[in-house]
């Protein structure tokens, strides 16, 4: 469904609700030349750039946070195979908000005076502009809005008509879900419409925005999904370690992504006894 060369808003924030199952499927389908737009992502970006699916990104952050640097990204950038246009988190969120509002740019007070303004890659002088505000005369930074081909969001639950509820941490998913030309929602669980209607305040994405829904349990493994499962720390540490070398990363790619037919086969490979241990304890959420 996603043609080569597409641009994608990529949902989730940090360790929370990254659409990793979707990234693995893009790799299995040998997609090429995709551009990713997000504030920050971690394991998903590592596998996408590691497998050569994504040569261009407009992001604020990539690392496995407390575990350390993003090794695949570091290697691909050093090899010249991946280009990153650097923005800040607020700048990216404003670009999604601008796209969602259908206006061409948004102003913000960050970035000015730094290399984020002075330096750009493939966007050239279309990365951002610093202007004198026409009303106050103050310096202000304008960032271009984004309306990518697709928005990819991972939510906790949906109903049959596509109403999607997100629990816990939201990040930039409200703006991001509304900025894309088509919205694909990955959900952990399908619930009855009544369950949505008794807690409508949790419906962060109304059905009217949603084009496609895919039911994908453990879509974020080895990361977390609030209220459903915790991160798999041991697996995550193994992943971070194997990405340090190209050889061991290629082994991982062959074993856990290309070597399985689909996400269900991946989960079987991880093992259900292991996955069940990650299931969240209510009400704490992990």
């Amino acid at each position: 469904m996603v043609p080569d060369g597409s641009g994608l808003f990529w949902g989730g924030f940090g360790f929370q609700r990254p659409p990793i199952a979707f990234a693995s499927e893009l790799i299995r389908q040998k997609k090429r030349n995709l551009t990713i737009y997000t504030c920050g992502s971690e394991v998903d970006l590592e596998i996408l750039v590691g497998a050569g699916v994504v040569p261009r990104l407009e992001i604020a952050f990539v690392a496995i946070e407390a575990l350390g640097l993003a090794n695949n990204m570091r290697r691909r950038v050093a090899e010249g195979k991946v280009e990153i246009e650097d923005y800040s988190n607020l700048a990216m969120a404003m670009r999604f908000l601008g796209g969602a509002l259908n206006v061409p740019f948004m102003p913000l007070r960050s970035l000015m005076g730094t290399d984020m303004v002075a330096k750009s890659r493939y966007r050239g002088d279309k990365k951002l502009k610093v202007i004198d505000c026409p009303f106050t005369g103050e310096k202000i930074c304008l960032v271009p809005s984004i309306q990518p081909d697709f928005s990819i969001i991972h939510a906790q639950r949906v109903d049959m008509s596509g109403n999607a509820q997100i629990d816990g941490i939201v990040g930039e998913d409200l703006e991001g879900s509304r900025c894309g030309k088509k919205l694909i929602v990955l959900a952990e669980e399908l619930v009855d419409e009544e369950e949505i209607r008794i807690a409508p305040e949790q419906t962060k994405i109304p059905a009217m925005y949603v084009d496609h829904v895919v039911l994908v349990p453990f879509a974020a493994h080895p990361m977390m999904c609030h209220g459903y499962y915790d991160y798999d720390l041991e697996f995550l540490q193994m992943f971070h370690k194997i990405t340090r070398k190209e050889e061991t990363w290629q082994e991982y790619l062959d074993t856990y992504i290309l070597g399985v037919e689909n996400h269900d086969a991946y989960l079987d490979k991880i093992g259900w006894s292991r996955l069940n241990k990650l299931k969240a304890i209510k009400p704490r959420g992990y």
Binding site: G113, T114, E172, M224
Partner: protein
Amino acid sequence: MVEYSKIEFLAACASSHVRDGENVFGGTGLPLLAALLAKETHARNINLISEAGFIDARPREVPLSVADTRYYLGCSASIGLIETLGFILQAGHVDVGFLGAAQIDEYGNLNTTYIGPYESPKVRLPGSGGGNDIASSAKRLIIIMTHDKRKFVKQLDHFTSPGHLEGPGSREKWSMVGGGPEVVITDMCQMDFDPKTLKIRLMSVHPGYTVQDVLDNVMFDLIIPDDVPTTDEPTQEQIDVMHRLDSHGVYLGKGGS
């Protein structure tokens, strides 16, 4: 006598700069441990805000991510990134932000993006994340770094987040909301900024180090005042609280920057 590691000293020292009742951006990693330590000791009423979009967090242990449910647990509101980085931070409501960096220059400007030339980077670092936003708009910045000569540079490889830019008048020129860095804390010393030049100035040296040790480990001309006191040691309570917060030794065990 209290026994402590360099990292514990660094975190305890950084936490002492948070005042009770402040709105604080804690970030992640060691900076967050310092903010949490403040909340568990002398600054119980700080409002800990995460860029992932939640407010007034009360984590019981250090999280691995700014969006870790462990961080979120017990917060009073969870709204979204534009709420915290926009409505709260950019609107000028954040008193203090914690940041780390791979490189810092004499005006407190920070690099968290690339080592090596921009055109052909040797190492891709995490990038700004919310760092540039926090550095631009928080009233005060507390910068935390492990001390290494290669990190205290005359010229940054890449300028990610603003300190005092080119000195007096720079932040005003760009209409910045926040006041810029107040202190830089390492495992060797504390530094503040000379009010006239806005350049980094030695403030105190940690026990076991000399002024010369610090001078040998910076690549720019550090301002040295006549009187350089020894930094206060952490208390046993601070050490105990840190170990409770990081019971798995994620940050205390292997260090961080």
